[in-house]
């Protein structure tokens, strides 16, 4: 019970920190000090304390977007185990509910962006919709490969079935799935090489441009949901790469945390050493993720 609660409470508290790790790694690569690790918490608190400025063009859809997105992300989080800690909720077939909850958040984020009538936000919304449409089948292929590997159709179950021993016998499969999941992580969280979250030109943004008009508590919701989403994918990818089964609650939790922060650091390194891809090169990269997953499926056996 404690373990299940921990796998939700820890991300709720520490997801922004994992986000801060990315900033810190990127800053170090650029030879800068980087902003304090706790800055992101202060930013969120500041936004929560502010009033709001709403566009005259917008309706309830604009205000509902960030709220629904945060709620959907929180619900999706409840399916995600952390290291050796089981997820709060788990049932066979939950991978589909998990993916569709994220899609639900995305739908309303897109609608909120379109509600402003801004062509820049329309552009971002269009790209977000297209990339996620291409990423989703790849995510399902990767998860199905794991399902066949483990004989379990729940996210917790299929991740728990991976142990250090399964890397000895099924290394190619697991490696392919991990790479595919890492690519999907980058795409779904709008990181380099799919999108550059720190770009300064509206034309080149994807996710950031969709939330240009949000401010105050709405923006705090958006930021927080984004850190949670990163946590979700990082936790899934790392519990594959660093399977833990010490049996001790504390060690499992620590191992899981270490994994998530390592994944965040990996994202930071990727962003530092790579440039963002031209938009037309993104679909082939997502197709590559799909090819990895499909190959894993073929190798699983049976």
């Amino acid at each position: 019970m404690t373990a299940r609660a921990l796998s939700v409470v820890l991300p709720l508290l520490m997801a922004p920190l994992a986000f801060a790790v990315i900033h810190r790694v990127k800053a170090r690569f650029a030879g800068r000090q980087g902003k304090p690790l706790m800055q992101i918490y202060r930013d969120i608190r500041k936004c929560l304390g502010k009033g709001a400025t709403l566009s005259r063009t917008t309706t309830w859809l604009f205000r509902a977007g960030p709220t629904i997105n945060l709620a959907a992300t929180l619900a999706a989080l409840s399916f995600v185990p952390l290291g050796g800690l089981p997820a709060a909720v788990s049932f066979p077939g939950d991978i589909f509910v998990f993916a569709y909850l994220l899609a639900m958040g995305r739908f309303f984020t897109i609608m909120a962006a379109l509600d402003t009538g801004s062509s820049f936000e329309g552009m971002g919304a269009s790209r977000e919709a297209v990339y996620s449409c291409l990423a989703e089948p790849m995510l399902f292929l990767a998860l199905l490969a794991l399902a066949r590997h483990s004989g379990d159709l729940s996210l917790s179950g299929m991740l728990a079935a991976v142990s250090a021993g399964s890397w000895l016998t099924g290394a190619p499969v697991l490696a392919l799935v991990t790479v595919a999941l890492f690519l999907i992580l980058l795409a779904e969280n709008c990181r380099v090489p799919f999108d550059d979250p720190t770009t300064h030109l509206e034309l080149t943004m994807i996710h950031e441009v969709m939330v240009l008009d949000h401010g105050g508590p709405d923006f705090a919701f958006i930021e927080y949901a984004q850190t949670l989403k990163l946590w979700i994918f990082a936790a899934v990818a790392t519990s594959l790469l660093l399977p833990a089964a010490s049996g001790s609650l504390v060690w499992d939790a620590l191992w899981g945390l270490a994994g998530v922060f390592a994944a965040a650091a990996a994202v930071g390194v990727t962003e530092s050493v790579m440039a963002r891809l031209r938009l037309t090169r993104v679909p082939p990269l997502l197709a590559a993720a799909g090819a990895f997953a499909a190959l894993a499926l073929i190798l699983v056996g049976g």
Partner: protein
């Protein structure tokens, strides 16, 4: 690691190299990919050898590794430097579609392996080998630069080599060596030919040959 997972570990880079070959337009990358694929494939006879290691398998692997991993890439790099081409500019078939066809080819190979009743142990390796041959042929058919077509030819040869390793482990050494030598000569000749085409016509696009038919 038992034999099956070793075979898997070999199959993965081969298939990934196929897809990457179909996806990449830079010729240097193509050379490296074919070389990498060739190097991996050259050691596969060791995996599929059922008994103890024989001299003749070892020799075959060593020669193949030397040719596919070192000599061919060197020759090709040299030719590339001479003709000063970097990219396949406009293939007949776009890259996303090529990748899709590559994946379909892999699925078709799997289906074929199932239909032919290939034993479970070499099922996937057979499919990978066949998919490599298909990839090579696809490259030859859909690309314009003579250079990329040579890449396709080499990939197809890689596939044939893997196929023999899978189907006839410890098989006819001399035939394989002979094929290798043939390819060696072919690459050599093509290097010269491409060089001359380039000098003559200032480009190596094969579609321009059509104007020569009269």
């Amino acid at each position: 690691m038992d034999m099956i997972s070793l075979a898997h570990a070999a199959v993965v880079p081969v298939i990934l190299a196929n897809l990457a070959l179909l996806a990449s337009s830079r010729l240097v990358t193509c050379i490296r990919l074919v070389a990498l694929q060739g190097a991996v494939i050259s050691v596969t006879p060791l995996i599929f050898e059922s008994g103890p290691l024989t001299v003749h398998t070892a020799v075959l692997c060593a020669v193949a590794l030397g040719l596919k991993g070192v000599v061919f890439p060197q020759l090709l790099h040299r030719t590339l430097r001479r003709v000063v081409v970097r990219h396949e500019i406009e293939p007949y078939l776009g890259y996303p579609l090529s990748i899709l066809l590559g994946i379909l080819g892999l699925l078709a190979s799997l289906w074929l392996a199932g239909r032919l009743g290939v034993p479970a142990a070499s099922y996937r390796s057979f499919a990978a080998a066949f998919a490599t041959i298909l990839t090579g042929l696809l490259l030859i058919v859909t690309r314009k630069k003579a250079f990329t077509q040579v890449m396709g030819y080499l990939a197809a040869e890689n596939g044939i080599f893997l196929l023999t390793a899978v189907l006839a482990p410890g098989g006819p050494l001399f035939i394989e060596l002979a094929i290798l030598l043939d390819v060696f000569v072919a690459v050599f000749v093509m290097g010269i030919a491409i060089h001359h085409i380039n000098r003559q016509f200032d480009c190596i696009d094969t579609d321009r040959f059509c104007s020569l038919k009269d």
